[in-house]
């Protein structure tokens, strides 16, 4: 009777793991559970409202992305019975596991920003973290003739924390290109004390928004949205009026996971930040956005974690202990408009630093610095995602962050 590895969620992490584990644990049964019939390339979402991608460019049928050796159950998780080692599914069945990996991701919690989905929702107030939201925003931007455009970050954690900044940069570029810049006030609203909160980034990039004439409103803890009056209100009484609001609410973990007893108050599974093993049960691991690791929620993090976790699953399957090999590494492109992007590379210990990546002194990618090469890298990544990353083939780089090529913050 083969033992069973259950992967909850077939996003970036779950898909990579499915491919790796059918090869690394050939005697095990690998079962993937996901309710969505398609796999969405999420890094393309901030670009969709600006016409870079259409919805069809960002999705593939789920079965095409998974290995034939893994079983796919198209269903949602509604509960995890830790003692019985069973997962409860929405359609009513249960699934037993010997090892469980929770990769159910993170999701914008619109309900946490009262009023956002009230009057004006997807007419003057938008998100871009869903395919429907990004598509609706594209229509609104096509029709935009000027006014007060407000890009709003509600509260951390969110996935891809740099995406709201990308939205500002891309909007500024679009408005300039269409000759609407002079007719538009562009505002970036954040609950943090600045757009760039880390010292090296603030030193290198701190002027970027001001140079583009973007007003930055900081320490704004949003309490509610009034869709009729088109007004954003903060807990300290400040208000901000808008004509077009692009808001990113705080994210939560999947509902079926949140109630399992394994997760924190936002539904993210409590794990050891370096082994990715659940703090409450040795047979359970979490990966990607679904875990509460104190690093960004990003696709690159899921990729690097999958390398560590694949090895740890093999160790645990053979009765050994997992190794604390994950260093919090993240590697993210930030679109800045006008055909350029920034690249940041960091981990638990090291903030984003300037430099060249991957080859010291040469690059070609520039760290904490805008360049056209970075922009091409971001666009080119989609192909690498479908053809190399998802099939578990990886990229020619290590999971851990390399200090090579980085310059001191000074």
């Amino acid at each position: 009777m083969p033992r069973t590895l259950v992967l909850l969620g077939a996003g970036t992490a779950g898909t990579i793991l499915a491919h790796r584990m059918v090869r690394l644990l050939p005697d095990w049964r690998v079962v993937v559970v996901d309710p969505d019939p398609v796999h969405l390339y999420q890094p393309g979402l901030p670009l969709l409202p600006f016409g870079v991608y259409g919805p069809g460019d960002l999705v593939r049928p789920r079965p095409q992305t998974l290995p034939p050796e893994a079983s796919l159950i198209r269903d949602a998780v509604v509960g995890i019975e830790v003692a019985d080692k069973q997962v409860r599914l929405a359609a009513g069945g249960t699934l037993s596991y010997d090892l469980l990996v929770i990769g159910t991701g993170s999701h914008p919690s619109f309900a946490d920003l009262p009023g956002l989905t009230g009057p004006g929702w997807r007419r003057s107030a938008f998100d871009f973290y869903t395919l429907e939201g990004a598509t609706a925003l594209r229509g609104a931007l096509d029709r935009f003739e000027g006014g007060r455009l407000v890009v709003h970050l509600h509260e951390l954690p969110i996935k891809c924390p740099v995406a709201p900044l990308e939205m500002v940069f891309l909007a500024e570029a679009m408005l300039t290109e269409r000759g609407l810049r002079a007719d538009t006030t562009l505002t970036y609203v954040t609950p943090l004390d600045a757009a760039f909160t880390k010292p090296a980034a603030a030193a290198r990039l701190g002027r970027m928004l001001a140079d583009r004439g973007v007003q930055v409103v900081t320490d704004f803890a949003a309490a509610s949205v009034d869709g009729e009056a088109r007004r954003l209100t903060a807990y300290d009484g400040r208000t901000l009026d808008y004509d077009l609001l692009v808001s990113t609410p705080v994210h939560r973990g999947a509902a079926g996971v949140a109630g399992s007893g394994l997760a924190d108050d936002l539904g993210f599974v409590r794990v050891h930040p370096r082994t990715l093993q659940s703090r409450d049960c040795d047979a359970i691991f979490a990966i990607g956005d679904a875990a509460d690791c104190p690093t960004s929620k990003a696709g690159s993090v899921a990729h690097f974690q999958s390398e560590v976790l694949a090895d740890n699953l093999v160790r645990v399957a053979h009765g050994a202990s997992p190794r604390p090999d994950f260093d919090g590494h993240a590697n993210c492109f930030i679109e800045t408009g006008h055909g350029k992007a920034i690249l940041i590379d960091f981990n638990y210990e090291t903030e984003p630093l300037p430099g060249r990546f991957p080859l010291p002194g040469v690059g070609p990618f520039t760290l904490l610095e805008e360049s056209a090469v970075n922009h091409w890298g971001k666009l080119g990544f989609r192909s690498a995602y479908w053809n190399l990353l998802l099939p578990g083939l990886g990229l020619p780089m290590h999971a851990g962050m390399s200090p090579a090529g980085k310059w001191s913050a000074a």
Binding site: E155, L192, T197, K198, A210, Y235, P360, V362, L393, L395
Partner: protein, 314 residues
């Protein structure tokens, strides 16, 4: 007319052909799957090799960077850029026109006798520092020295040549002015100024809160934003002092409880709680947190609790 056996034979043939077509299609599908598997295996095998090559390249370039090579290259590029920016097409044309004259001048200047003279002059200027100052009387006395007389003679000859050449150039310039730009070398034109689109007026930035006393006196325990550099150096007494510094008076049990909860949460999770998380761990409403810690409670509590500023990734 078609006999039934004729039709039946034809149907048999069609069935056979369909069977063959199906077999060929299945064969193609299998071939494609096999090709994909081969490609995947190739990539899977190649990836560690590529990673190894990448490691080697990274190491090589890290060595070069440590020795300053890329910086030199970049500086060279910057110089080339400045030269390109400061040089117009007309400049290059003028350079081309004059290249023979320039080469002649260089040849003349680099003749061994001329070079030797220049070297001597260099030595003299160095030694001249030690010469005593000379007034009018000193000049007259000096002019009786046969070497000074020779030097004066050379100076006069040089001045004569320079003056003559200058008068010839003046005459040529006047001819251009009279007859049009066909005569003489072209004049340099400056590039037109860059057009910049109008930007909307930038609003004045919000006033930052005045720095607290700890940061002002440059206390090395705190960073420039007033956060404790070493969280292990925190004490309750320090917390009270920071709170007092931030004009949080009185500093009550309610404040202390929130600060304790923030510090515990940071110790547990490795990241400082923002206001939403604080509300969750203290079971206080966000409004209550604002009442206790007006203006940015997440940050204020982090300062008092001696934990890092709640921040994003960048």
């Amino acid at each position: 007319m078609n006999a039934p056996s004729d039709v039946s034979a034809r149907l048999d043939r069609v069935e056979t052909q369909l069977g063959e077509l199906l077999a060929v299609t299945r064969g193609l599908a299998d071939q494609q799957a096999a090709a994909r598997r081969t490609r995947d295996e190739l990539l899977a095998d190649a990836m560690p090799v590529l990673t190894g090559l990448s490691d080697a390249a990274v190491q090589r370039f890290a060595d070069l960077e440590a020795r300053g090579v890329p910086d030199l290259g970049r500086a060279g590029l910057r110089v080339a850029e400045r030269v390109a920016q400061g040089t117009s097409v007309e400049d290059v044309d003028a350079l081309a026109d004059s290249v023979v004259a320039i080469l002649d001048t260089v040849r003349a200047l680099t003749q061994p006798e001329v070079l030797a003279l220049a070297q001597e002059a260099g030595h003299v200027i160095e030694e001249a520092d030690e010469a005593a100052p000379a007034g009018v009387v000193g000049l007259v006395r000096a002019s009786r020295d046969v070497n000074v007389q020779k030097g004066l003679g050379i100076l006069v000859a040089v001045l004569r040549h320079v003056g003559r050449a200058s008068r010839v150039l003046d005459k040529k310039a006047q001819a251009v002015h009279r007859d049009g730009p066909s005569a003489g070398p072209p004049t340099r034109r400056t590039a037109p100024p860059l057009q910049v689109g109008a930007r909307p007026a930038r609003p004045t930035p919000p006033q930052a809160a005045p720095p607290a006393a700890f940061a002002e006196v440059g206390d090395p325990r705190f960073d420039r934003q007033g956060f404790l550099v070493d969280p292990q150096g925190w004490t309750e007494a320090l917390a009270e002092a920071i709170a007092h510094d931030l004009h949080l008076n009185p500093y009550t049990e309610a404040h202390r409880a929130v600060v304790a909860a923030a510090r515990a949460d940071w110790q547990d999770r490795g990241q400082s709680p923002n206001v939403r998380r604080l509300s969750a761990v203290t079971a206080l409403e966000v409004q209550d947190l604002y009442a206790l810690f007006p203006k940015a409670p997440g940050r204020t509590v982090a300062r008092i609790a001696g934990i890092p500023k709640p921040a994003g990734c960048i």
